[in-house]
């Protein structure tokens, strides 16, 4: 992590205000090439805001965001996607009136610069296992399937980094294990990740490197084991 060429994403001093409320108050994070970092914190600590700012959905007020050595600060989402970052949503946002295949195709066509688009779509469908549902309207999928579709849509843009926002929420423990295996498989193909999660167990199955945040700022970075012994982390999670 000490050499700058090993850093894929460097976020520094991020501030995001909503009126008077500072949702992010000087948040920083670095993610190395090919690494997975877990992002944890209590409800309302700003985890999803971090993802929304990095992916360009919200414009930050102060700070810097560098990806692959270049600034992506305040760029619109589609440009950030073209630089190689994509994400999933806690509550899936499929293009409901389009088929699964159309959902993924459009991301392959507009989101990735190079490569055979048909091949890209086929690969994304295979990874998430939605081949049999490819002609189904996205609106008719189950919640778990819509999450997989969101993941496939992100993968079809050929990202270098994936921001995974609370993908476990609302899934059964069996589905959880399956999605964890899938993310590990995706990571092995060379995609770095930030995994936002409420469930420490889910993060633990993916990485040992975790950032804990509270009130829009950094609280802790280190191994999950150390986090579970850290006084401050225990305090914000248990509310003592």
């Amino acid at each position: 992590m000490s050499h700058s060429e090993d850093v894929l994403l460097r976020v520094d001093g991020l501030v995001k205000k909503f009126g008077e409320l500072k949702a992010l108050n000087g948040f920083s994070i670095t993610v190395g090439k090919g690494k997975i970092v877990g992002l944890a914190g209590p409800n309302g600590s700003g985890k999803t805001t971090v993802i929304n700012v990095i992916s360009g959905i919200y414009k930050p007020d102060v700070g810097s965001i560098e990806f692959d050595g270049k600034s992506i600060y305040r760029l619109p989402s589609h440009k950030i996607v073209h630089r190689g970052i994509n994400r999933t949503f806690q509550v899936p946002k499929p293009l409901a009136g389009l088929t699964v295949l159309q959902n993924i195709s459009i991301a392959a066509i507009y989101g990735s610069q190079a490569g055979n688009k048909t091949e890209t779509v086929k690969e994304a469908l295979e990874i998430v296992g939605l081949e049999d549902a490819k002609d189904t309207l996205a609106a008719n999928l189950t919640l778990a399937q819509q999450k997989l579709l969101g993941l496939a849509r992100a993968l079809a843009t050929k990202p270098k980094m994936l921001l995974v926002d609370e993908i476990a929420a609302g899934l059964s423990s069996q589905e959880l294990q399956w999605i964890a295996d899938m993310l590990i498989h995706i990571h092995k193909s060379g995609i770095s990740m930030i995994v936002v999660e409420h469930l420490m167990g889910f993060i633990d199955s993916l990485t040992s490197d975790v950032v804990v945040m509270n009130a829009g700022a950094n609280l802790f970075r280190g191994s999950i084991e150390d986090a579970s012994r850290n006084e401050e982390v225990i305090e914000v999670f248990l509310g003592r």
């Binding site: 992916s55 989402s77 293009l95 389009l98 459009i106």
Partner: protein, 306 residues
């Protein structure tokens, strides 16, 4: 390879056949012209409403801009009405570009702001202080270049152009990207679509079609007033026709216009009070029970509607 276009091209050929042959057996050219005009306007509105979800209540503003753009060019530059019609289309696109900021609004806010913009344009054009350019409230007289037959077939050309545009949007990645924006802007952006650019192109295309319609209407009618070409009924009729037929398809707006505009001419002109009652009830029924129009019934029976 071309087979995916067959049914759509078939629909376009039927329309051409109808409007080329009908004048020989039915001599109300004005009715046929207006029918073609509303068909083209419905397809033009379909581009922005059917594919992006923006409902432009001020759509008539582009129509009026086209009518006045073409007329001013004819009066001052004395160029061929065919070229002037193109200028009318461009005038509407320029108005569209000026109104780009409205696209930041959504839903009813967009509809109302667009309506207000069209009325502002109406009062600007009708302003007596601009009489040297627009003739102000006294209207336009193009009787020196009047040619009913030429303008009739030019309207058919504009109609075919509008249908080909919608066909293009139905069959290409560009149309799919617009539908994606309509479904969910955030997800569309994360698919890598440049939302501002894409919807602006659709907006300009939609304005261009309305501008062409207004321009040909000006030529066909020859004498008209600001209140004729900025008449809000043009927006309302077009929107109802598209809603009734079913947006997002080529055939939906065609069906809606053919059925409702015919009906308007049979009962609307003889007994206007019943007609307004009928249209009012129809809009209520549509919104409540058939929001995707007549074509949704066909689609429900698994008939592929081009």
């Amino acid at each position: 390879m071309l087979s995916k276009y067959y049914s759509s091209l078939g629909a376009i050929f039927v329309i051409i056949f109808i409007f080329v042959t009908l004048p020989f057996v039915y001599n109300n050219q004005s009715f046929l012209f207006n029918m073609m005009m509303y068909l083209a306007l419905a397809e033009g509105l379909n581009i922005i409403y059917g594919f992006t979800g923006y409902l432009p209540f001020g759509y008539v503003g582009f129509f009026g801009a086209g009518a006045y753009g073409a007329s001013i060019v004819i009066m001052f530059l004395r160029i061929s009405p065919f070229l002037a019609v193109l200028a009318g289309g461009i005038a509407a696109v320029i108005i569209g570009i000026i109104l780009f900021p409205l696209l930041r609004l959504s839903g009813a806010y967009f509809a109302i702001a667009n309506l207000a913009a069209s009325q502002a344009l109406y009062y600007l054009v009708a302003n007596p202080n601009l009489q040297k350019i627009t003739q102000g409230p006294y209207g336009i007289d193009l009787s020196s270049v009047y040619n009913a037959n030429a303008s009739y077939y030019l309207m058919l050309g504009v109609l075919v152009f509008s249908m080909l545009l919608v066909l293009y949007m139905r069959k290409t990645d560009f149309g799919l990207s617009l539908l994606a924006i309509k479904e969910d802007r955030v997800t569309a952006a994360l698919a890598g679509i440049n939302i501002v650019k894409t919807r602006s192109i659709a907006w300009m295309l939609s304005a261009f079609v309305a501008g062409l319609c207004g321009a040909v209407f000006a030529w066909f009618t020859a004498v008209f007033y600001p209140s004729t070409v900025f008449n809000l009924n043009v927006s309302v009729f077009t929107i109802v026709f598209v809603l009734f037929g079913g947006m997002g398809t080529i055939v939906g707006p065609l069906l809606g216009t053919l059925i409702l505009y015919s009906m308007y001419n049979f009962i609307g002109i003889s007994t206007p009070e019943y007609f307004q009652l009928f249209y009012g009830l129809l809009i209520m029924i549509l919104v409540l029970f058939l929001p995707n129009g007549v074509v949704s019934i066909l689609q429900h029976w698994r008939i592929d509607v081009p």
